[in-house]
Amino acid sequence: SQQGEEDPQALSIQEGENATMNCSYKTSINNLQWYRQNSGRGLVHLILIRSNEREKHSGRLRVTLDTSKKSSSLLITASRAADTASYFCATDRVNTDKLIFGTGTRLQVFP
């Protein structure tokens, strides 16, 4: 079973609005990563946040991590139609070398 759980499962917004996606996990982690997937194909890495970091920015992306609550959020500001995709969180658990992916959030941005 997947460790990560994203919510919401689907999100529809208008261009220019902000999109917030959440991810929860169950075990201790080394880091948490967010990936984007277009059309059910290959994933593209967006951002990585280490377990000792609380917030990270990359362009229009802002990621937070709360290890006490075992949760993370991805905020996309000023969304664009091109941001339409599925977004997955993935955790790199302590003492393992593999990523465990969540079930994803499908984001639809309407022009």
Binding site: Q2, K98, G104
Partner: protein, 115 residues
């Protein structure tokens, strides 16, 4: 080279046949992963290779699934006696070195359809 490549991009097979899926990682990447993604679902870890270490096969769903990797290059995922529930996109990813902070680079996937 460019990125991770996979072949074929699409494969349609009949139930009971064997299939082989290929992954060419980024040159120099020692870590290679296989994932399965069923329609509308997240990625399911299958197997992980790191250099010359014994592979982590803990995600393989049954003994019909196997994978090989020659050194630090090409990997093949073999599914024997395919079943309809094997229909999915199979994704390969590679990563540089053994740092847990290095990102994984994904291939475009192989869409397998078992009739």
């Amino acid at each position: 080279g460019a990125g991770v490549s996979q072949s074929p991009s699409n494969k349609v097979t009949e139930k009971g046949k064997d299939v082989e899926l290929r992954c060419d990682p980024i040159s120099g990447h020692t870590a290679l992963y296989w994932y399965r993604q069923r329609l509308g679902q997240g990625l399911e870890f299958l197997i992980y290779f790191q250099g010359n270490s014994a592979p982590d096969k803990s995600g393989l769903p049954s003994d019909r699934f196997s994978a090989e990797r020659t050194g630090e290059s090409v990997s093949t995922l073999t599914i024997q006696r395919t079943q309809q529930e094997d229909s999915a996109v199979y994704l390969c990813a590679s990563r540089s070195g053994n740092s847990i902070y290095n990102e994984q680079f994904f291939g475009p996937g192989t869409r397998l359809t078992v009739l």
